[in-house]
Symmetry: C2
Subunit: 218 residues, 2 copies
């Protein structure tokens, strides 16, 4: 799974290379950050993603500079990060953050086949809200043409995870005995759905939306 | 503020270039994503950051490959993204996400001056939890040496923001009148502080931590 380039070197205990761990983080995250280079300058752009088996799908406007550049076959890096808490130690040096992140390296291929494009869009839609595909109008031929889909194989990927309490040095226990130390948990939560101005009266919030909050509950 | 490279080309209405908008997003975000290139491969690594005036400070272990590479003066990109909601339209093509993001391009300089290093560490600590610096043990000379601080000037930066309801096409109102459409708000919230196993009994949660949740409240 992980090549030399994705091996976690700093704090190697935090590195994970099994697909179960990697997939769970990719699937939970709503946004990813795509890194690529253009004219000698690296760019990092937030984007949506969806995993189908061994492939991470990315999408955007066919007119997007990023999608066009990625489609040329330049190396890219897609990173996903979930922040779980602020780790408050007694010493500034020991402070940290609990997180789960995945780094995928590779080259994304443009998807030309209309069936695979449609399947990727279904996955991207379901990634936003499970069950949403069935409720929405599928893309027209024109819309499909205006949408670029890229497939990035999960060949070279790794996860990095920090969990648990702060690693306080025993020496600090005395002088800083009065300093509160522990973890401040951070969670992404979903609020009550806000209807669009053009939503007709009487249209109920579907169960998938009402239940959505559970997805991020840990 | 924004050069040609940070001008938002796709959906230019979403682009913002004033420092007030840019700073507010940088200051609210807990993590950033740092993009850089090494041996022809772009990397995107999650990290902590803190803004002091016109400078974005990054830090890490002096032994970190990323910090060493950035310190060589290679171009980098630091991106910060806050996700505010899932935008559910009637058509798959019109679905979106409400977000606020900032992209900073430039070259980071290693900070050698011990006073500036200490001030940057204070800002990074306060960025995690306001008021935390006063409660924690400052870094020793050894710890300062083991910590690399980089300064990235906010010379070339832009923000991209999407807010508001879905942009439904009027044509979809009839056939998909029964589809719920609107926004599912997403917020980062802070849970009850979890004490470290070595926290002595009787140490109270400081007010700054108890009030912390407000920071993300919108």
């Amino acid at each position: 799974m992980a090549g030399k380039r994705t091996r976690v070197k700093r704090l190697p205990k935090r590195g994970h290379y099994d697909r179960q761990t990697i997939d769970a983080i990719l699937d939970e995250a709503l946004v990813c950050h795509i890194g690529f280079e253009a004219e000698g300058q690296p760019y990092v752009i937030p984007s949506l993603h969806a995993r189908v088996g061994d492939v991470l799908y990315l999408h955007g406007s066919s007119a997007s500079r990023m999608l066009r550049r990625l489609g040329e076959g330049v190396p890219c890096c897609v990173t996903v990060t979930l922040v779980d808490g602020v780790v408050l130690a007694r010493a500034v040096f020991d402070q940290s953050v609990n997180y789960r992140s995945v780094v995928v390296l590779g080259t994304a291929q443009p998807v030309a086949d209309p069936d695979e494009k449609l399947a990727a869009l279904e996955a991207l839609t379901e990634q936003l809200v499970p069950g949403r595909w069935a409720d929405t109008r599928p893309p027209t031929r024109q819309e499909l043409k205006a949408t670029a889909i890229l497939a990035l194989p999960l060949d070279e990927a790794s996860a990095k995870i920090r969990t648990g309490p702060p690693g306080n040095a025993p020496e600090d226990a005395e002088d800083y005995a009065g300093t509160w130390t522990g973890v401040l948990p951070i969670t992404q939560v979903v609020g009550a759905p806000v209807p669009a101005p053009d939503l007709p009266k009487g249209v109920k919030v579907p169960q998938a939306l009402a239940d959505y909050g559970r997805r991020f509950a840990r």
